[in-house]
Amino acid sequence: MTSLPETTQRKLGLVIDLDTCVGCHACVIACKGWNTENYGAPLSDQDPYGAAPSGTFLNRVHSYEITPPHGQAQLVHFPKSCLHCEDAPCVTVCPTGASYKRSEDGIVLVNESDCIGCGLCAWACPYGAREMDPTAKVMKKCTLCVDRIYNENLPEEDRTPACVRTCPAGARHFGDLGDPDSDVSQLVAARGGFDLMPDLGTKPVNKYLPPRPKDQWEETDILAPFLEPVAESPQGFLGWLDRALERL
């Protein structure tokens, strides 16, 4: 049913640390691997070894350059997947009921056997979290690895989404964001986690942690500027070369 649940018992989601992410794309590969080999239609590739490769991914890592008014430019790697919004616009537009938000844990899923592939949900999502698979012709999206997190056949440490499990930098965290005492909620509170495009009213569950301010180069000695510079002009062979080139 495409009516959104009024409340969900839990709000499972991800917290992504933009300070820690190194942009290695391991989460992208782990996601594609797990979600191709397990639940649902595989994530296909088109022309993978040809001139114009293209494929379906549920998680993609953008990179942005930030130039603060003072100090060094900074590169921020920005992984983006479904935010499992509380007020998910992708769910309510679905004409068939294929898209739904679970009332028990808030995960937004697609029932692929009901999907007619109209693509309207992908239009409705402001974040580009949904991609139509050109081979299966159904809508694919992050399932929060629903087939891992409750899977008792896996060792307990593996019962997290594939992207979280694989992240070598520990930049991805999984948990219940509806519980203020959970590790992820406390992390969000401590680091000032934020929503993407909050004005659109989607109320995303996933949170992003901002990059920490970088160290600034500070003067180590107040007398340093008054010291005579050491080696202003090159000496020896380089000095001769410098003079010789100037004379030319």
Partner: protein, 292 residues
């Protein structure tokens, strides 16, 4: 947004077909017998042809019946209901008019109302999408419905009503473009709000997540066809509204001129619909550095 030919043809033809059904239902003109048969044939060919074209962009058209289930929340589902209801009621009305020389007015009014409702539900599919600010405005349903009614009046041969509606629809078309041009700015989304990285300083998309293209870029960050936007707007306005208006204002206009007016209107509406999609910008483009 990607201007898919199937969706452009669907909205243009169906809009026209349901517009004509509105007038036929209202008894404008009050046709019966063979004349009614031809009128209803044209209306159904356009409306049903358009609906069939729309199924071409579905990944799984064989599951289309499921689309009737979510009318509580989904405008696309409501559109399916409205379209089928309108077509069934108008078919009963047409049956009376064509074969029994009887127009059951109440049935006609109901059918006209449902036909108009179908156009509104189609418009709401686009209007509801906040992620496409150009569509998310009050003028969108007004634009799509007046265009549909103007075309319907033109096809129904209602010269006076068509003149008023073509003029009105043309004005609303211009207003929709001008308001639409400001909508993205008004929506207030930027690369800073999209990434939450605005505060530390100037932000620039440095690298895309992938070397090639992807579904999102093909479907929602489609920029081909914006190049000739101003020229296409003039073509849409000229062929869609001005020329048909001029043609039907010629005193004693013949069927030939009327047909020319309809043809011109359809070509103009195709250009208008192309722009409706091609010029619509989705906020997901911000993640890829669209709009700086």
């Amino acid at each position: 947004m990607h201007p898919a030919p199937s969706v452009i043809i669907f909205t243009t033809l169906s809009g026209l077909g349901f517009g004509l059904l509105v007038f036929l239902g209202l008894g404008l003109p009050p046709v019966t017998g063979w004349v009614a048969f031809v009128f209803f044939l044209i209306a159904y060919a356009l409306a049903v042809g358009g609906l069939l074209a729309s199924t071409f962009h579905l990944g799984h058209p064989e599951r289309a019946l499921k689309a009737f289930s979510q009318w509580r929340t989904s405008w696309l589902s409501r559109e399916a209901w409205a379209a089928v209801a309108a077509l069934v009621i108008m078919a009963l009305y047409a049956l009376g008019a064509v074969f029994f020389d009887t127009r059951i007015s109440a049935l006609g009014w109901l059918g006209a109302g449902l036909s108009f409702a179908t156009v509104i539900t189609t418009a709401m599919i686009y209007t509801q999408i906040k992620a496409v600010p150009r569509w998310h405005q009050a003028l969108t349903p007004l634009h799509l419905s007046t265009a549909s009614l103007a075309g319907g009046a033109l096809l129904a041969g209602q010269i006076t009503i068509a003149q008023i509606l073509l003029f009105l629809a043309g004005i609303i078309q211009i207003a929709h473009w001008l308001r639409g041009d400001q909508r993205f700015g008004e929506a207030g989304q930027s690369i800073a709000s999209a990434t939450g990285l605005g505060s530390p300083g100037r932000i620039r998309a440095f690298e895309a997540p992938h070397t090639g293209t992807n579904y999102l870029l093909r479907e929602m960050v489609h920029v081909v066809g914006r190049k000739h936007a101003q020229r296409l707007r003039l073509i849409a306005l000229g062929l869609g509204f001005a020329l048909p208006l001029g043609l039907i204002m010629i005193p004693g206009a013949s069927h030939g001129l009327g047909g020319l007016a309809v043809l011109s209107h359809i070509l103009g509406m195709l250009a208008s619909r192309w722009l409706f999609f091609a010029q619509a910008e989705h906020v997901v483009g911000l993640y890829y550095g669209a709009r700086g």
